[in-house]
Symmetry: C2
Subunit: 244 residues, 2 copies
């Protein structure tokens, strides 16, 4: 059975199989070795994620299946915070989760995953930086206030909290907020609407995730291919490759 | 548990999660409803596919899992023939499968799938047309003969055989060979190397597959979403959506 990597997150995960998306790129990268399973939920914050995680990630119907899943799920990316970081007094207030609760919820998600699959790599990803001017140009709900529903400063606070949780749990983390801002024109280079990722931004997430997985021993060099590659098939006796 | 669509085929399936690939587009299309599972094997023909299908598609470890898989696999695309159609006296000869055996092998694959999952939709896809000049420019193995390893005429014979098998089994089929050639400049419009699909060619496969699935009742209108969409969440009482 081919191992799985679950992508659990919000809209930046849900849209990750669009053109050049980081999820699709992962699936392509691991096309002969791993199933990349999409579990992205647009608009969700960690409060809602905690409510649904039992349903989102495969329930164990009896011991043998539980055992099987434990073996086969090699990694889960947890990518929340962009919605939690909506400001509590702006038009995205219903998605807001206070910073201390965000940390607590991330801990709950990690505990749940570690309890279900003790040997599975949990990889946290911080929210991306926010381009506030672009958020005003691309509102999701009516926003006559002239104030963006998210700020880059708030996103940074949630990113920092995410990194703290990773440290407290001994987990790897992709610090997307910092990584992206290392480029001077990050607002246009990586973002499509001040929040979501364009093709280049998706590329950054893909590369960072592949690098972290590799550091943790999950790479094309280490993961078995389930069936012979064409290069391993003897042109003079092709069927030999499929014996036994 | 979210239903699955398996993509079983050769390199045109294996590479379907690349930029704008038809597999990635399907996964994006069904991002909240279906898991699209990649089972593409570069270079494989139906003779090899028959040898590996038991291992490729999930084995049933006991009745309860078998039951679960039967319910959850809603469709399988079977997309072979491009390698079978390699000419027997050219440089791709080791991949060649005679036409009558190709038909027999497709029947075997369909029987296997129908036996494993009686209610699962099996969707056949014919090989694409071949641009012979482009094949000479993009050889996979040394080819000093000046003759392409595949011809469009041979691909057409395998496409016709695939359609016949679909008819004999009462299955839907995407006739890619004919569909693509309806465009005058199909060679450059759809193909990257005379055989594999460029982005526009991938788009054609995606659209044809979505249309066939829809005709068979598998569409966004009919498939349940596993968790509330953001539009269904009451901003004044978000948690209500997650009760029960």
């Amino acid at each position: 059975m081919r191992p799985k990597i679950y992508l659990f997150g919000d809209s930046i995960t849900e849209s990750s199989f669009t053109y050049g998306g980081w999820g699709a790129s992962l699936a392509h990268h691991f096309s002969r070795t791993v199933d990349v399973v999409l579990r992205g939920y647009s608009g969700y914050n960690t409060r809602w994620a905690v409510k649904v995680m039992e349903r989102v990630l495969p329930a164990a119907n009896g011991e043998s299946e539980s055992e099987r899943e434990r073996v086969s799920t090699i990694a889960v990316t947890v990518f929340f915070g962009a919605n939690d970081a909506c400001l509590p007094d702006r038009c995205g207030a219903f998605q807001h989760v206070p910073l201390h609760e965000y940390k607590h919820n991330l801990h709950s998600i990690v505990s749940f995953l570690k309890n279900r699959w003790p040997n599975t790599l949990v990889l946290l990803i911080t929210p991306p930086p926010i381009d506030e001017e672009a958020r005003l140009k691309h509102p999701y709900v009516e926003n006559p206030t002239g104030l963006p529903e998210r700020t880059n400063e708030a996103a940074g606070a949630y990113a920092k909290a995410c990194i703290e949780v990773a440290g407290e749990c001994g987990l790897p983390v992709v610090d997307l907020w910092t990584k992206m801002q290392q480029l001077a024109d990050w607002k246009t280079a990586y973002l499509s609407d001040g929040l979501h990722l364009n093709e280049t931004g998706n590329r950054v997430v893909f590369e960072e995730v592949v690098m972290k997985l590799k550091t943790e021993g999950l790479s094309l060099e280490n993961l078995p291919v389930d069936l012979p590659m064409i290069s391993e098939i003897d042109p003079n006796d092709p069927l030999k490759a499929f014996e036994g």
